[in-house]
C-alpha cells in the first residue's frame, strides 16, 4: 500500500515540476518495476480479487495428453476469477463487467457453444481444442494469448469452464474430423479451390476477393443477435492469424467444422477431403500480402488463376445444377 504515495508523485511530476519528485520518480519507477516481479501474488491482484472464498464447484476434469485438469483445484478457481471472470463473468455467462465494452462478445460458457473446434458443428469441442484456444487466444477479438500461465493451469481452466453447462455431464466431446495430409500446392489446386469458393458461395459473405464485403456481409449477426463481420482475407499480413489458428490445417478445420455461434456454417457434409485442401490453397491466395507457398505458385503462374476444368478422375461427387458446370464440390 505504500506504493500509493510515490505513484501520485510520479503522475504529478508528469504535469508539473513537483520539487523532489522527478528524481525520486525514476528511482521509484525502477523499484516498482522490480517489485512487480517479486511481490507476492496477492499484491498484484485486481482490486476485486481478494483471498479465495471457499467455493464449491462441480468436479470436472480435462485430459490433454498426460495432463489432467481439475475444476476443483485452487489453480482453476483462482485463475478463473483472476483472468477469465472479468469478461466471461463469475457465472460463466459471458456477462463479466468488461463484456459491455467488447466486440465480439466473450463466450457464454453456459450454452457450451464454441467457435474453435476440431469436431463437427453442434458437438462439444475436445479438451485439446479448448486448451489450444486458451493458449492461442482469439485473433481479432479481446481474448488474449494466455501463454503466460502454465500448461497445468490451462488444463485446470479447461476443466473449470465445464462447470457452467450441464452438457459436459451428459455429452461426450465430438470426434475430431480427419484431416488428410496436405497435397502439394499447384496452380490446378488453386484453380479448383477458386471454383469451390464460387460454387459454395463463400463470396456471399466473404466477398469475391475475400475482403469481407459480400452482398450478405452487412446483415450478419451472431447467435445472440450482435452484428458480426465476416473474415477479411485481404488485409492479412505476414503474422496474421485466423480466429482458430494460423496454419493450413487450421483453415481446413475452420470451414469444415464451422464456427458455431456465428453465421459461418459447417461444410463437412458437402466438401470432399481433397477438395477441401484445394479450397485452403485458394484461400491463402486471397491473403495477397502474405508470404505463402500458395502465393509463390500463383506468382509463378503470372498471377493468373486458370478457369477450372472438371476432370473425370476428380474425387468429386456429381454436381446437379446445370449453371454450375465449371465448379465442383457437393455430393
Amino acid at each position: 500500500m505504500n506504493s500509493l504515495k510515490p505513484m501520485r508523485c510520479i503522475s504529478a511530476s508528469l504535469f508539473t515540476a513537483t520539487p523532489g519528485c522527478t528524481t525520486l520518480g525514476t528511482a521509484i519507477l525502477g523499484l516498482i518495476l522490480a517489485a512487480a516481479f517479486t511481490v507476492p501474488a496477492s499484491a498484484q491482484d485486481a482490486p476485486d480479487v481478494g483471498p479465495l472464498r471457499p467455493v464449491v464447484v462441480k468436479p470436472m476434469e480435462s485430459h490433454i495428453g498426460n495432463l489432467i485438469g481439475h475444476s476443483t483445484s485452487d489453480n482453476a478457481k483462482y485463475d478463473y476469477r483472476r483472468f477469465c471472470a472479468g469478461c466471461h463473468g463469475v457465472a460463466g455467462d459471458g456477462n463479466g463487467e468488461n463484456a459491455v465494452w467488447l466486440d465480439p462478445k466473450p463466450r457464454d460458457f453456459t450454452i457450451a457453444t464454441f467457435k474453435c473446434r476440431s469436431t463437427l458443428t453442434g458437438t462439444l469441442p475436445t479438451d485439446e481444442d479448448l486448451f489450444n484456444t486458451i493458449g492461442r487466444g482469439i485473433a481479432n477479438s479481446n481474448m488474449p494469448v494466455w501463454n503466460t500461465i502454465s500448461h497445468q493451469e490451462r488444463a485446470d481452466l479447461v476443466a473449470y469452464i465445464k462447470i457452467f453447462s450441464p452438457r459436459w455431464e451428459h455429452e461426450k466431446a465430438g470426434t475430431p474430423i480427419t484431416v488428410p495430409p496436405e497435397p502439394p500446392v499447384t496452380i490446378e489446386s488453386i484453380s479448383h479451390g477458386k471454383a469451390l469458393f464460387t460454387k459454395l458461395e463463400c463470396w456471399k459473405c466473404h466477398g469475391p476477393h475475400g475482403e469481407g464485403d459480400g452482398p450478405s456481409a452487412s446483415t450478419l449477426t451472431d447467435s445472440k443477435d450482435n452484428p458480426i463481420r465476416p473474415y477479411n482475407f485481404a488485409i492479412a499480413g505476414n503474422d496474421s492469424r485466423f480466429k482458430c489458428g494460423s496454419t493450413n490445417q487450421d483453415i481446413y478445420k475452420i470451414f469444415m467444422t464451422g464456427v458455431d455461434g456465428t453465421p459461418m456454417p459447417s461444410f463437412a457434409d458437402v466438401i470432399q477431403p481433397n477438395d477441401a485442401w484445394d479450397l485452403v490453397h485458394f484461400l491463402r491466395t486471397l491473403q495477397v500480402h502474405r508470404h505463402s507457398k500458395e502465393n509463390e505458385v500463383l506468382r509463378a503462374a503470372h498471377g493468373v488463376i486458370p478457369p477450372y476444368v472438371e476432370q473425370k478422375t476428380s474425387s468429386l461427387a456429381p454436381v446437379a445444377p446445370a449453371d454450375n458446370k465449371t465448379s465442383g464440390g457437393g455430393q
Partner: protein, 233 residues
C-alpha cells in the same frame, strides 16, 4: 401360436374402438386490433430466387386471412396428450424454395427425424437458433442431399439463413403429434383424441401463446377458439 394369430385382430379392435370413441377439438384462430404491416422482400441480390416470384413476396411474421383469421398458429395438445414419447417414424420435410422456408412453421415430435431440402439454385446455410436444444449451422449447396436432423427437447426454434437474411422460419418441437397449423381461414382440427382432459395451446411467433382446457367425454367435437391481440409493431 394362437395368441399370435389373435394379436392383429385384437389390435384392430383396439384401434377401431379408439377411433370410434375419439373426440375432436376444432376451432378458429383470429386476431383483434391491427397486425403489423408485412414488408415486401427484395431478393434482387439473389436473382435465381427473385425470378421465382414475379410479384415480390412479403415477410411472414404475421399472416392473416379473411374475417380476421390468423394463420401459421401452431395449435397442439400441451398437456394430457396420449402419444407423448411415441416418436412418429414418417419423415417430414422442410424445403428451401425461392429463398423461402416451406412451410414457414414446421411442427414435429421430439426425436422425430426431419429432412431439410434445398430446392434452389443457390447455397443456403441452415442455422436454427435453439436455446434449449443444441445449436448447429450447416451449409447446403444446390444439389446436395437432404440434411437429416432431429431435436431432443420441446422448443420453438427460430430458423435463419445467414446468406439470405430475409429467410425466417420456425421449428415447433412438441411432445405430441396432436398438432395442427391454422390455415387461411384460421381453422384448425385436432382429431383422434380419446376421452380425457386436455390443455390446448396455441402459439404464434409474434403474439405468444394462449391456452384452453378441454374435456373430451366420447365421440364428440369440441369447439375451441383462440383470439390473439395483434399489435402493429
Amino acid at each position: 401360436m394362437r395368441t399370435k394369430q389373435m394379436l392383429p385382430v385384437l389390435l384392430m379392435v383396439l384401434v377401431c374402438s379408439s377411433l370410434m370413441f375419439a373426440g375432436t377439438v376444432s376451432g378458429k384462430v383470429t386476431y383483434t386490433g391491427t397486425p403489423a404491416h408485412q414488408k415486401p422482400i427484395d431478393m434482387s441480390k439473389e436473382p435465381s430466387c427473385a425470378k421465382q416470384h414475379p410479384t415480390p413476396i412479403t415477410t411472414e411474421t404475421v399472416v392473416t386471412g379473411a374475417n380476421n383469421a390468423l394463420d401459421n398458429v401452431v395449435v397442439y395438445v400441451s398437456a394430457g396428450a396420449p402419444d407423448e414419447g411415441q416418436v412418429p417414424t414418417q419423415a417430414i420435410t422442410y424445403t428451401q424454395k425461392g429463398c423461402q422456408y416451406i412451410p414457414h412453421v414446421l411442427p414435429m415430435h421430439v426425436g422425430q427425424e426431419f429432412d431439410i431440402i434445398n430446392d434452389d439454385q443457390t447455397s443456403h446455410n441452415i442455422h436454427p437458433l435453439p436455446k434449449v436444444n443444441i445449436e448447429w449451422n450447416k451449409s447446403q449447396p444446390p444439389g446436395t442431399p437432404p440434411i437429416k436432423e432431429k431435436y431432443d427437447k420441446p422448443e420453438f426454434i427460430e430458423v435463419k439463413c445467414n446468406i439470405h437474411p430475409w429467410m425466417h422460419g420456425y421449428f415447433a418441437v412438441l411432445k405430441t403429434s396432436h398438432y395442427d397449423i391454422s390455415k387461411e381461414a384460421g381453422d384448425f382440427k385436432l382429431p383422434n383424441l380419446p376421452a380425457g382432459k386436455y390443455t390446448i395451446t396455441a402459439w404464434h411467433e409474434k403474439y405468444g401463446t394462449q391456452t384452453a382446457d378441454v374435456t373430451i367425454t366420447g365421440n364428440e367435437t369440441k369447439d375451441v377458439n383462440f383470439t390473439f391481440k395483434a399489435t402493429p409493431y
